[in-house]
């Protein structure tokens, strides 16, 4: 990787990240689509599940263990939650990977800049404080 043009290398590595992002988005969209179709077509209430009262009724699964159990049961509402959580995680994952990328590029300034952003993001999540 370390040859004449570091800018090109950065772009190549960014392309790699962009493909990961793309597969993440496709996976998330598939989970959302499958979940929505299953709820609309196969559950007892059908499309009525998406009326306002029904939308707000089911409590979303919060904890990792609830999510895991729901996925194993094949519960479509859990697929929706999993698809949404994956979607939410992608930008943070991307900043994390970009940070690793700058480290590999031995670009100290940008590694520190990205590290700073990454730490603020994570602290925002763990403090439960919306930025």
């Amino acid at each position: 990787m370390r040859n004449t043009n570091p800018e090109r290398d950065l772009i190549r590595a960014e392309t790699l990240i962009s493909y990961m992002l793309r597969y993440g988005v496709i996976l998330s969209a598939s989970l959302l689509l499958l979940g929505l179709l299953f709820i609309a077509l196969f559950s007892s209430q059908g499309a009525r599940n998406f009326q306002l009262s029904a939308i707000l009724h089911p409590a979303p699964p919060y904890t990792p263990s609830e999510l895991y159990a729901g996925l194993r049961r094949g519960d479509p509402d859990t697929w929706l939650a999993a698809g949404l959580l994956l979607l939410i995680g992608l930008p943070i994952l991307r900043v994390g990977l970009t940070m690793v990328l700058f480290l590999l590029e031995q670009d100290k300034t940008y590694f520190l800049i990205t590290l700073f952003v990454f730490v603020i993001l994570l602290s925002g999540i763990f403090l439960g404080k919306a930025l």
């Binding site: 962009s18 599940n49 939308i55 707000l56 919060y62 939410i88 952003v117 603020i120 919306a130 930025l131």
Partner: protein, 278 residues
């Protein structure tokens, strides 16, 4: 109802990805006014839509390296710091005056953008100033409308950082995304091509929104059966929007953006006047 929400989300995703704005300006009023969704869940769905716009667009923009990652990371330092500060100050300042301030800032940005005449992106100054050189911010992107690689320099980094800090403070204070302030700052102060400004803003708002979304999810504001059709629609819209944007001429994008700025400004002014349409 769900199908209508889905269709509106496609439109929101397309506009958001072309202009570098989150879908919040469209999604929240649509859900609350048309479908009577409680504001709490509308905001939860809207934050998901911002992330969906960003990630959906990013996969294309980064591959074609329209997004400038270095600028995004550098400016994100200022925005996140500003947002943290704003969130802490928010209890102290009545939001009514803030909405007026925000509306004025938006109108001012629109006027400035309107007055900055650019004939062609290819004629942008290639020379970066010393800060931008030191931080290696200059780059290039392939413009599908011009059918050529557009090289660009970057100017006024400290001013850009300052404006981003301000944008962060406002978004932290008001709890709204600040794509509407990020794009003008990059466009006017830093002299970036509008496509680069839009794509980079898109990346940044996705990152900031993702950090907030965790908190929203834990609080139970993100209802899967509402947020899922919104996210799916926005992803499709962003997929279409990015492809449109790459082919659009920059002047058209800037005009569209200025128009939307004015609309948001009016929305904010109404809010300040006590008309709740969010």
């Amino acid at each position: 109802m769900i199908f209508a929400i889905f269709l509106i989300s496609i439109v929101a995703g397309a506009f958001g990805s072309i202009l570098g704005l989150g879908g919040g300006v469209v999604i929240v009023p649509a859900l609350t006014l048309l479908f009577h969704v409680p504001i709490r869940y509308a905001v939860g769905a809207s934050i998901v839509s911002v992330i969906a716009t960003s990630s959906g667009a990013a996969a294309t923009y980064v591959r074609d390296h329209v997004t400038n990652i270095r600028i995004a990371m550098l400016l994100e330092v200022a925005t996140t710091l500003g947002a943290l500060g704003g969130a802490m100050l928010s209890a102290l300042i009545p939001s009514r005056y803030l909405f007026i301030l925000f509306a004025v800032v938006l109108l001012y940005s629109a006027v400035i953008m309107l007055r900055t005449k650019r004939t062609s992106e290819a004629l942008l100054p290639e020379e970066s100033d010393s800060w931008a050189k030191h931080l290696k911010l200059a780059s290039s992107y392939p413009d599908a409308a011009l059918r050529q690689e557009v090289h660009y320099g970057v100017k006024n980094v400290p001013e850009g950082m300052g404006l981003m800090l301000g944008a962060g403070v406002i978004s932290g204070l008001l709890g709204i995304g600040s794509g509407a302030l990020k794009v003008p700052a990059m466009d006017t102060a830093m002299h970036l091509p509008i496509k680069v400004s839009s794509a980079t803003s898109n990346f940044m708002i996705g990152v900031t929104a993702a950090a907030s979304a965790g908190a929203y999810y834990v609080r139970g504001d993100i209802q899967p059966r509402l947020a899922a059709p919104v996210a799916l629609g926005v992803l499709i819209g962003a997929w279409v929007g990015t492809r449109l944007m790459m082919r659009m001429h920059s002047n058209k994008i800037r005009k569209l953006f200025i128009g939307v700025l004015v609309i948001i400004a009016i929305q904010m002014a109404l809010k300040a006047a006590g008309v709740e349409i969010r």
